[in-house]
């Protein structure tokens, strides 16, 4: 067998690797070791529970910590559905002080379970329209919004001398056979939003028929947004061959070259998703929690939203990034479904949808 000197070259390598990685996570200075309350029981930190897509630039986090005097601890994991269910399962013994990221498709479930404590934050200009219908106690504060809309590849349609589709009905038109790709409603949040669009457009008894027509016309379903947009869409990262895709109203701002966007969103096919923040019932630091909700509504965070989280602010007075201002148009009248109704029927709708689409 190999003599011992075979090990020799490895020693520096292993040493380097261990040094570079600081060996392990144990003993890492994590905020959990810090006391959560100072002398006299006054809290020293605010814990924000949120989903995986939450990103706030570091300078803004520092700004909040300086303004409020609290340490901000961010616990991000899962998607909006997982976040909501976590909050429901841990109500009464919450995971933190504030939750951000519950959206209007899941909010009713959280409200029904009494996850949040009422806090009537002063809203900036234009934010009132985003309030959750049915949230009369003002448990939830709208922070951002983004609409899920069908997108088309304008260059593809120009090259094929075909007028791009405009409406939901067009997608089922044989002219556009085999051109549409969308993430599924059961596995993707934009996919669910599109299902809600069709429910709002065709009624609770009519959408099944629309989906049957859509599938007959060769619509393709994928698991998630990235599969649809990056693989199958002609303007995605890969070599896709479908020029119609389900995405967001802001997506055209990301396909700009030479001062022109090669895609556009069909503004008559949109469903608006609003994300909310709320103070958790039983929070250890309710004062800090309210301060954080106010901060999320403030002009600094609001103007950082498009670049860091790909969403529109609720504050109408905030200036959008240049590309957004030019290429990301918001629908004026998106489709709406009552949140309480979503909460009640989600299960049935998804089951019916699975039946229709797998037929």
């Amino acid at each position: 067998m190999r003599p011992i000197h075979a090990l020799a070259p490895l020693v520096p390598l292993v040493a380097l690797a261990l040094a570079a990685t600081g060996c392990s996570t144990i003993g890492d200075g994590s905020s959990d070791g810090e006391p959560s309350a100072g002398p006299g029981g006054t809290p020293t930190r605010v814990v924000l529970v949120t989903h995986e897509s939450f990103v706030l630039p570091k300078p803004l986090i520092r700004q909040f910590e300086q303004q409020s005097g609290y340490d901000l601890v961010v616990r991000a994991s899962g998607d909006a559905g997982i976040l909501t269910n976590k909050l429901v399962l841990t109500k009464g013994d919450p995971l933190g002080d504030v939750a951000f990221g519950v959206d209007n498709t899941f909010a009713s479930r959280a409200l029904d379970e009494g996850v949040f404590a009422a806090y009537d934050a002063p809203l900036p200009d234009g934010a009132e329209q985003y309030r959750l219908p049915g949230d009369d106690e003002h448990d939830l504060t709208p922070i951002d919004n983004a609409s899920v809309c069908v997108n088309v590849d304008d260059t593809w349609f120009a090259a094929h001398h075909l007028a791009p589709p405009k409406t939901l009905d067009d997608l089922a038109d044989p002219q556009y056979q085999d051109l549409f790709v969308t993430p599924g409603a059961a596995t993707s949040s934009p996919g669910m939003a599109f299902l809600l669009t069709t429910i709002a457009a065709y009624g609770e008894d009519g959408w099944q028929d629309y989906w049957a027509r859509l599938m007959d016309n060769g619509a393709k379903l994928t698991a998630g947004w990235s599969d649809a947009y990056e693989v199958d869409f002609t303007q995605g990262g890969g070599q896709g061959d479908r020029p119609i895709v389900l995405s967001y109203d802001s997506s055209p701002a990301f396909t700009v070259s030479d001062g022109k966007s090669s895609t556009s969103a069909l503004l008559d096919t949109c469903f608006r998703q609003v994300e909310y923040a709320g103070v958790l019932a039983g929070a250890a630091n309710p004062d800090g929690a309210e301060e954080l909700v106010d901060f999320l509504l403030g002009p600094d965070v609001q103007s950082a939203l498009p670049d860091s989280m790909y969403v529109f602010p609720v504050d109408a007075s905030v200036q959008l990034p240049a590309q957004w201002a030019r290429f990301a148009q918001q629908p004026s009248e998106p489709y709406e479904v009552d949140p309480a109704s979503i909460s009640e029927h989600r299960d049935d709708w998804l089951r019916e949808w699975s039946d229709v689409t797998s037929r």
């Binding site: 067998m1 994928t222 698991a223 998630g224 790909y310 998804l350």
Partner: protein
Amino acid sequence: MRRSLELVGLSALPLAVLGVFFVLPVSGMVSEGFLADGRFDPGGVLEVLGRPRVHRVLWFTVWSSTVATLLAVLLGLPVAHLLHRRRFWGRRALRSLLLVPFVLPTVVVGVAFRELIGEAGPLGFLGLDGSAVAIVAGLVFFNVAVVIRAVGAAWESLDPRPAEAAAALGAGPAHVFRTVTLPALRPAIVSAASVVFLFCATAFGVVLTLGGLRYSSVETEIYLLTTNLLDLQAAAALSILQLLAITALLVVAGRLRAVPDPALARSTRRPPRPAPGDWPDLVATGLVLLLVGAPVAALVAGSLRVGDTWSLGNYRALTGEGSQHALLASATDALATSLRTAVDATWMSLSLGVLVTVVVTRRSRTRGERRARGLLDGLFMLPLGVSAVTLGFGFLITLDRPPLDLRDSPLLVPIAQALVALPLVVRTLVPVLGGIDDRQRQAAASLGAGPLRTFATVDLPAMWRPLTAAAGFAFAVSLGEFGATSFLAREDHPTLPIVIYHLIGHPGAMNYGMALAASVVLAATTALVMLAVDRLRVPSVGAF
């Protein structure tokens, strides 16, 4: 009396860890499902089990996992032979490369596969996109490394002399393989196959991404029920179904594994070079390299494209946090976090794994003792068979008050990963340690060696090679783990797979390229670590 004390003493720590971080959370979650409005209501759970959809889902899970496992074994065996019993230039590099798929994030592999087999891809004419064939190919892609590595480790230390004797007596190669080699390898093959089956049966991303939503497995169903619908009753029913099916599988595997005389003689000879008679090995290796290599090549090519030109721009962008791109953390930071976490997960799963292996493989004196050891063996396989979301939500609702107020602990991530890796570690070690003739230990003892000295001189040298293989597995599992990691809270320090998911989930051509580049970095890191681990040797191996 002393023996049962020893049994209890050695198994206490692994059992405690399993109890707190697996049994408690999972039973907490399942019992939520049995409670309807605060009352015990098993009827609802039973009703779920009668649904036709549940039967369909269960049937798909069983057949797709079975086919994928068979294929992985059939392809993996000849490759294991070539890579572990033949000597040629580059075999170490090949070995570590073949482990790469194991750590690649499913979402990225899904994209890479679909770039190839999608309607517009070079293999689009096969019409595989969204088919069950694509799912099975994906499962084999991810798991063939398990067979190669676990069986290879056992094959490497197999004494070639019985096979040579059989050949000298006139048996053809096929005959030798069937009557001499295969029986000796059976414990290792069954071990690897049962792990692969568990991985396939709980695969999540592959089924959804490559199946185009037309198929659902028990795992995807539990995910949907728990994270989207919060239908805990149905989720509990399926979790119980999962546990029952796995228990049945483990019992069968345990039967198949048992061989009348497990003693392995270990080989000390230098392996020969490949000969013309090794052509089946070469063909299988070629196939596996194609299956593993094509998507990986597509991935590397994609990562080098910026717009319509070739460039390293995606890689350069990874180091900064970028004002344009909403990176959670720079990929270099995330890689450091991933490596740190993986170090923890590796030592945790190795220490637990060695304890479990020692307990499980000691010769039993009584039938009761043998049962107890067999039970322990199966128990530590269970974490592989339970959905990550069940475990994740279980953590939240059961580990929430002192003395077990752990739900925000940064240690949860490495512990969860260690639990996922533990069955792999145990299954790699058990066949080898179980193959040591107990008389060697008795001889050592009668020459005056204490239990520790016996372990160091008899067991450890034999375990070294499978131990490095197991360490590699554990490290790779931790580096690539996404399900549990994404579910558990992070504080400013995401691991690399989480950064990759984040990148690929948002628009912008640059994000897509960076996600591919970060995956290549993850894969390359894994391959390098594997290569380093592979070179570790102890001089005393085979010294007697």
